[in-house]
């Protein structure tokens, strides 16, 4: 065995590799890491009346002692959980159907399930208003057959929930279907062969194989929902409001960037928690 010193060619190739990596890493540092640090620093160093900025958790004390902020955080969490629950309840059967059904109907359902992906949120929001809003299509139809109007979910916390569920169906279904790809037909048939009925089959054979996908769905949708803006802004109530519109209003209308940063930091902490959940789920899957 002989070891050769690295040639000049290899060295320059290493340099090019380093440069190629440096660009995205630099961008990441500049566009993501730096704003986070700067935001954290500002949130933790509130400006005093005399202009100094000593370290103090005062902003966070203010956030967590303000009933309005807390109810906004509460409604955000509520929206996230309800949306997530509905998403799983709707998308798991849909994904199971798409994975195991054959034929033309399944192809149609697949297209339908992917459709929301191509509709911008703002158009979705206005479609929602026209259909489910006051005197919308549903009301008109009910009226035509002499029934009372619905209590419109528009401008209630259910408005964003319905919009967000619709908006998130494609991604959720895609993730779940790809996860279900890991379940072989033979494994399913073998389970039926030894006596598993559909529910048992789902619980003991299918679900354990798609846990990772479910975890990915949970973290992805939670991350997406926490930072959702358009749908809560257009469809949701003015008060309490979700963190997205709340931050925007605090920053833009109230001109209080420090408080907006504090809200952003709190939001980020929740997102980090789900981020960690995601990383762990993926890592656990890799470990298998």
């Amino acid at each position: 065995m002989t070891t050769r010193p690295p040639s000049g060619r290899a060295q320059s190739r290493g340099l090019i590799g380093l440069l190629l990596v440096a660009v995205p890493v630099g961008l990441f540092a500049w566009m993501t890491v730096w704003p986070i640090i700067s935001g954290l620093v500002q949130a933790f160093t509130p400006t005093q009346p005399n202009g100094t900025r000593p370290f103090s958790p005062a902003n966070f004390v203010e956030f967590f002692s303000d009933p309005y902020s807390l109810s906004n955080l509460g409604v955000t969490l509520w929206t996230c959980l309800v949306t997530l629950g509905l998403l799983l309840v709707i998308c798991i059967p849909l994904a199971l159907y798409l994975r195991f059904a054959q034929g033309r109907l399944a192809a149609y359902v697949q297209t339908m399930a992917m459709f929301p992906m191509f509709v911008p949120s703002i158009i979705l929001a206005f479609a929602f208003i026209r259909v489910l809003g006051p005197n919308g299509t549903v009301d008109l139809l009910l009226n035509a057959v002499g029934l009372p109007k619905i209590r419109s979910p528009y401008l209630t916390p259910w408005g964003p929930v319905i919009g967000l569920v619709w908006d998130n169906i494609p991604l959720t279904v895609l993730i779940l279907v790809s996860g279900l790809g890991a379940v072989s037909n033979q494994a399913v048939e073998a389970a039926r062969d030894v006596g598993a009925r559909p529910l048992t089959l789902f619980w003991y054979i299918v679900l354990p194989r798609i846990w990772t996908s479910v975890a990915v769905v949970i973290s992805f949708t939670m991350l997406g929902l926490f930072s959702a803006f358009t749908l809560p802004y257009v469809l949701g109530p003015a008060s309490p409001e979700m963190m997205g519109p709340f931050m925007q209003r605090t920053f833009g209308d109230l001109r209080d960037p420090e408080m907006a940063l504090t809200q952003a930091t709190v939001t980020m902490l929740f997102c980090i928690a789900f981020g960690i959940f995601y990383v762990r789920a993926v890592a656990r899957n890799r470990g298998k």
Binding site: S184, Q186, A187, E189, A191, R192, D193, V194, G195
Partner: protein, 342 residues
Amino acid sequence: MSKLTIADVSKIFSTTVAVDTFSLDVADGELVCLLGPSGSGKSTLLRMIGGFETPSSGSIRIDDEEVIHLPPEKRPTGMVFQSHALWTHMNVFQNLAFGLKLRRRPKAEIKERVEAVLDLVGLKGYGSRMTTQLSGGQQQRVALARSLVLEPKILLLDEPFASLDQHLRERLREEVRDIQQRLKITTLFVTHGQDEALALADRIVVMRDGRVEQVARPDMVYREPATPFVAGFIGTMNLIDGTVANGTFSRASFSVPLPVADGPATLAIRPEALSLTAGGQGIIHRVTDYGTHGLVDIDLPDGTRIKSMISDAKAFAAGQSVDLKPTAISAYRDNAVIYRTR
């Protein structure tokens, strides 16, 4: 204990007729091999017995009880798939125990039965292994054990060893035979390997395009194939199309006495039933020496190639002209036997 009756079963997938009015009786404790080329409907038939496909028509009875309307989970059948059928998130013990747990057997009984069957398939002590840590052969043993532990009335195996290498396949099929004989379990075994069928089966069902071509004991399928298709499918066979006139079959310069009515015929001669003598119309194309015997390819003047098995490969050489003397022949016309030497 259990017999299987399949009567006039057909399965039509939109345009393909996968199984065509198939009938078969399998006696208690019998091992029947379904043999046929790819696409002949073997898997489809097995899946209909297991409940994974619904027949388009016909009836399937187990111990005289109609099972056609039962879903797989309610049928007294156990199926072993070709591959990828183990539950990879469970260990070996859990894979075997799952069916028993669904039947709410007591813990002690589950443990006892799982261990007994692990012992039976030669995997004693493998209970805590994850299935992904097993070799291909071990995985198929687990799949077999998983079906056996539930003591099914009918065991169905769909090319269970097709993904394994030749050597392992031979060993496992012998084990399956031993286990089957010990448990006296009625078994249907799908394969497209004729040697597997010949080695395993009490009876062989040769299938072609979804229909039964012949049902017979292995030696009968080999010695007295009912149709030219079976003759050509099992073992090596020379099939020569020609015409019969005045009690003589002829094809090009090759002729054999054949006491049947005049008309077209297909002659079937095993290589081992065709002896060679020097000088004649056939030209030797190649001689392959297998040590124990030799295989000679002979070209007739019209280009027909014929195989002959000889005991001494050194006796003939390529380019030599030879005469062909069949010692045993069968002849077919309209897909049926018209003559067979005793």
